[in-house]
């Protein structure tokens, strides 16, 4: 993703169709749709002027922009149902959007569709400390749940770096992770019930407050389905007790390989840290310059290892981790002395994206996941790719669970540099697949990685995905064109790569 404002320069891909007759037709349809939806929605919930639509033309992936036909901001579940019934009758595309912080263009509007913003669904409906759950509307911010639960000694575990702004509905759509998911799991592990509106406007409860439900595990299928199967209108999340003790070890290493090895050894020692993050030197320097959090800027690699639990347990684990890091030739080790210092050290990591963003006019974030043991090989090959494309890369890595975030630095004002960056990004994702990993660990496919899906999955598997989509959304009106590529698109993507040379990794088993 390109997160800096410069990405909105003319070099950014404008996917608007420029055909003037189409534009005239579209204006007409815009008026008709607004008039139709006014039957069920108050006027202030229907946005249709250029100025009103502007803020919605992209999500966190600002390189992709599109003006929707309309933006609707419903306030009740009944209104969402009415919108979906109308969309079904008129076969109008509907793109759901939460806070718009997604990094893969999942909420990129459709030029002939409506953008269904859930921002007004922003209330915590029930917080039940005795039974350890909260029922929330999809527009509630991730961090707001933990803030509300905190006075009861509870919190909501998944903590994506954007948790200040991102919405829980978006987290469900993307199956978001966070720095603590090695120990506490992803969104799918922490959500117990969804209320969803189907493509044809029916309200359905999926999951329950029990441990499981009759029938198929639709809760797992819906979580991470990127708004392709249904619109989530209510979510029940688990609340966990806040661990009495959380302590952070910061260790530096002479090479990224040493740090990577240390990660494996911690786990081999039977310790599962709450968080285990690795940064390379460019990322360390950027984060330190940005957050002034006390990272040693001359270190080749830095590990942040957090341990939580009961006091005695954490003390024993700290001892274990110190020993492992020593055995793995750590250059230095430091345990955060105070809660303030612990939070400051995390702040550096959590602000790594914007920090790296200051090193260049633009940056592009990759989200591949790899088997941890392949880290040295992947880093070596990325160095070669970085040289080949003449673009710098900084690396932050959810090392515990193998989720790699290379950040490619570029300048979209240089002609062709965005295209080269996207090609480099695509090559890195294909490298992740090559070593047995995946093209996206937590940011989703959206529009951004739709071509790379063709690398990861074969035709039959893609057709199976389309059949699932068809089971929920036979007209294909929910977020059309995202997440799962058509076979035609894959054929074109493959042809392009054959044109450039060899098919990428012909020896690969495709899945």
């Amino acid at each position: 993703m390109t997160a800096s404002p410069q990405a909105s320069s003319p070099d950014a891909h404008d996917v608007n169709l420029a055909d003037p007759t189409t534009q005239v037709e579209r204006e007409q349809r815009r008026k008709e749709a607004a008039a139709a939806l006014a039957q069920w929605l108050p006027q202030h919930s229907i946005l249709q002027s250029r100025e009103e639509l502007g803020p919605y033309e992209s999500d966190g992936l600002t390189a992709l922009k599109q003006t929707p036909l309309l933006v609707v901001l419903p306030e009740t579940i009944e209104q969402v149902q009415a919108i979906m019934r109308w969309a079904t009758e008129t076969v109008t595309p509907v793109v759901a959007r939460g806070a718009g912080t997604g990094l893969s263009g999942g909420a990129l509007p459709h030029p002939d569709g409506i953008l269904l913003g859930l921002a007004k669904f922003n209330r915590i409906l029930e917080l039940n400390p005795e039974s350890g759950y909260a029922v929330v509307q999809p527009g509630v911010r991730n961090l707001a749940i933990s803030e509300a639960a905190r006075p009861h000694g509870l919190y909501y575990a998944p903590d994506p770096s954007s948790q200040i702004a991102c919405s829980i509905g978006g987290n469900v759509a993307e199956n978001s992770g966070g720095v603590h998911c090695l120990k506490y799991g992803l969104t799918v592990h922490n959500v117990t019930q969804l209320k969803v509106v189907t493509a044809d406007g029916q309200l359905l409860t999926i999951g329950s407050h029990a441990a499981d439900s009759a029938g198929y595990d639709l809760l797992a299928l819906l979580t991470g389905s990127e708004g392709m199967l249904a619109i989530t209108v209510e979510i029940t999340v688990k609340l966990l007790p806040v661990p009495p003790s959380a302590r952070l070890v910061m260790a530096t290493f002479a090479s990224v390989e040493d740090a990577g090895l240390a990660v494996g050894e911690v786990i081999a020692a039977g310790i599962i840290p709450a968080g285990l993050e690795l940064m390379d030197n460019p990322a360390i320097r950027a984060a330190e310059a940005f957050a002034k959090c006390g990272y040693p800027v001359d270190a080749a690699a830095l590990l942040l290892c957090e341990l939580d639990g009961l006091d005695a347990e954490v003390a024993a684990q700290i001892e274990g981790v110190n020993k492992v890091f020593n055995d793995c030739n750590a250059v230095s080790q430091h345990i955060a002395n105070t809660e303030e210092e612990r939070l400051l050290l995390w702040k550096g990591r959590k602000s790594a994206f914007p920090a790296v963003g200051r090193l260049a006019p633009d940056y592009y974030c990759i989200d591949g996941t790899i088997p941890r043991k392949t880290l040295p090989e992947v880093l070596r090959k990325m160095d070669l790719l970085s040289e080949e494309y003449g673009l710098r890369i900084a690396n932050v890595f959810h090392a515990g669970d193998g989720n790699l975030h290379p950040l490619i630095l570029f300048d979209s004002n240089q002609p062709g540099e965005l295209e080269r960056t996207e090609e480099l990004g695509s090559r890195i994702l294909q490298l992740c697949v090559e070593v047995g990993g995946t093209i996206t660990g937590e940011h989703g496919v959206g529009m951004e990685k739709i071509n790379e899906m063709c690398v990861q999955f074969d035709e039959q598997t893609l057709l199976q995905f389309h059949a699932i989509k068809h089971a929920f959304d036979p007209l294909g009106i929910l977020n059309p064109g995202k997440a799962i590529p058509t076979l035609q698109r894959c054929a074109e993507f493959g042809a392009m790569h054959v044109h450039n040379g060899e098919l990428p990794f012909p020896e690969l088993e495709r899945y």
């Binding site: 039974s131 350890g132 029990a210 499981d212 595990d217 024993a316 989720n403 899906m453 699932i468």
Partner: protein, 388 residues
Amino acid sequence: MADNIHNTDLSSSLVDQVKAAIADNKAIEIVGGGSKSNRPDNVTRQQSDPGLEPAILEVAGNCGIVSYEPTELVVTVRNGTTIAELKSALAEQGQCLPFEPPNYTGADTIGGVIACGLSGPARPYAGSARDYVLGLRLINGKGEYLRFGGEVMKNVAGYDVSRLQVGARGTLGVITEISMKVLPMPQAERTVVRDVASHDESIGILVKESRKPLPVSASACIGDQMMVRLSGSEAAVEAATDDLTADGAGTVDEQGNLFWAALCDQKQEFFTGHSDLAGKPRSSDTPTDPGTETLWRMSVPDYTAQSELADLGSADAWLLEWGGAQRWLRSTSSPAEIYQHAEAVGGHASGFKAQVLVADQPLTGVNQHLHQQLKQAFDPQQLFNRRQ
């Protein structure tokens, strides 16, 4: 890795057999270790379509560990691998499947456990079978051999078809290979037992305890006794034991691990001590024979007061576990009555005889419609496990 693990890849033969069944327009009955399914020869006569004898797909021979790297915390196994073999291979490396796959007969396979979505006593605290599935390979109803998910912890490319298969009972396809997350075994375990006046008292205690950051890893209530297992580092278990016994009402049970193993594998007396529930010849298993007891599993919100379910059976007909979220009932009540009670408290129920599923809470409305559409998406010819 243990040398004694059988290692046979029958996947291409299984694909061929599925394709042959499609060509012959036959239904398919998937049979693994045979621990959770009626023998097919008893089933065919109950088919709504008696003219169609199902082809039997024996999958237990497709077995062995495909890959296992302890420091990656991932194991990939073929579906026919027995739970016993898998657990012992993991234990050699000091690791385990934290959801505690049940092993009812000793022949139970991981494919069966995943297809049935079974988890043991640790489920509410460590997560369920589906929570640990990272990826799998599946033969769908078109005879296509597909791969979903992978061997990495985080993967959001494509729909989560892997976890969808957990508990689908083979109705969406044949699982041939499963990748799962594994974790280190806890350093220490201890069981605390205390007397309770009623099931509701135990639920009250368990619900309260589970909001505390204690390393509780299992809980159960039978009769007037409540059992809580603590797992984790020595230090954490020690501290939590003190907390749970502080009021003088709890004592440590040195044999606690035997109790949890028996509970997990349904060898505990509650399950085995009644001839209606155990040891019956499989040929006589029919859905809810009148006059004989069925074992009902009621999955309800953990905080549900037992008094809301009390008229389904006297206190000694119940066994509560999972902090109150899973309640076993021996009953001759009609399925309709059980379903109605389950639904009233926001849960669902399924009935078993000798670990064979004989009755399951029906689906309704748009939910039922979506289930049918999904079945169609994976298995358009209605090939697999029709009686499920």
